[in-house]
Amino acid sequence: MNRTSASPVTHARIRRLPLHAAALLVFVLSVFPVYWMVLTAFKPTQDIQSQTPLFLPTSVTLDHFTKAVQADGFWLFWRNSLAVTASCVLLALIVALGAAFAVARLRWKGRRGFILMVFIAQVAPWEALLIPMYVIARDTDMLDKLSMLTLIYFMITLPFTIVTLRGFLTAIPVELEEAAQVDGCTRAAAFRRITLPLLAPGLLATSLFGFITAWNEFAFANMLIIKNQDDRTLPVWLSSFSNVFGTDWGATMAASTLFALPVLVLFLVLQGRVASGMTSGAVKG
């Protein structure tokens, strides 16, 4: 913008035309699939089946949502997903808070090695561990159990949670805690009363990431829950939509919308914090 103010205004407008066309293209391409999903979910079946697609809502129906919600086990799978996701996020937060504190605030032998371990764990090739996990789950009688999934998701999200929380912790001046200690607080109380409230945005951003990862996870849920179909999670159920809804795209899109909704809402509400959390975690610790 500095640059354009130097040249005449009209000239600048013309020069910026391709730029704005590109911006529009990027916007449309990124939004369209999501828009199409929601639109199809609300469209009456005859509109979905019209030979020329209707790009704007003409009439709205909730039939597809009713059908999706009433599909066999939808609420059960929704509850399973929520239970697994919530417990893994909570577990990861508690464990990570301890580890992040040790790394950011204390000095001890093996600290470097520990950080290295966390970094390596962060890029662990989980997709290559499907088979041993299956064998281990079978050996320990954990096959078809949601608790096994919870443990795995906990481990998948833990490294990122530690790295990000550590980033947030280092950003909070240790002097604040020390001042409280001078005023007679114990170290633990100083942390709880001073640092923890300041850490709230960080906790929020990291738990959001954990939530999304666990809510979306497909490979392990697909591999480890086989016999006991009641313990399936939403992604696995949704991936087999054609068994459930056939070619009923309205109901399929309604189910997808319901599946995506919690994540989209969380993400959009917390957008700014997440972006800053992402960069502070991934880039400069």
Partner: protein, 313 residues
Amino acid sequence: MTAAAGARRTPGAERAARTPGALWPYLLIAPTVLGTAYLLLYPLVRNLVISFQTYGMGELIRGGAPFAGLANYREILDDTVFWEVVRRTFWWTAVNVVLIMVLATLVALMLQHLGRRTRLLVMSGLVLAWASPVIATTTVFQWLFSSRLGVVNWLLVRLGFESYENYSWFANGSSTFVILVLLVVWQSVPFAAITLHAALLTVPAELYESARLDGAGAARIFRSVTLPMLRPLFALVLCLEVIWVFRCFAQIWAISKGGPGDATTTLPVYAYRVAQSLHRYDLGAAVSTLTVLLLVAVLVVHLRQMFRQEGEL
């Protein structure tokens, strides 16, 4: 000397070290270490062990798998299908990553030149795509490319490509591959673009200013100012994308299960197919081990980058 350097890095650390209770840090990290040992290290080791055993359906139920030496690796490496899968995996990774990085860089540069309101709008769109759950998007893409009533076929016919009337994308190997690439690129560009854009923001405006005063054109500024400043983060994102695309499983499995035929079978999918449908857990484990080895090469580069960024370790 190291102590002084350490204290400079974390102000509170030196004081903490003097206080009693040196066991505390170890108690705090114990759950993380235990979790990593049981849920990451042990599976990796177990995978390695299984790959040296004869491990089929019977051994899975009864236990007591006998060691088979290198037999599994020999079987895999002698199999022409495996090498085809390796080639396909590299091709898959290359196509996706190049597209992702080029598009993300372009989008990041575009964002930088947009006005505040337009930028916010485009960013919200990108975040929406980024946040969409993988499996939901996978389902939506199947609808977009559906042979009957699919909006993509309709558009292509409208644009004059009559042959796409009721074209069934998922019946053909290469068109399924194309859809998977489009899906993964669509899902990955937002993260890369937003991260690169954030990196562009850290380039001080004075640098552009002085380059302009020195008479540098847009191309020259990009090459001499933007690119060098962007390089560390660019490398970081590149590594992450290589890792993510290489290990990609959910999208491929949900859309095509590696098919039709073998057309979209990459290494992770291949390992899963061998293990699950043939009950050859030993062969699957051998493929997984080879996958991990290939990834380690990339990971080493990535971790070195990461450590360089984390100067204050």
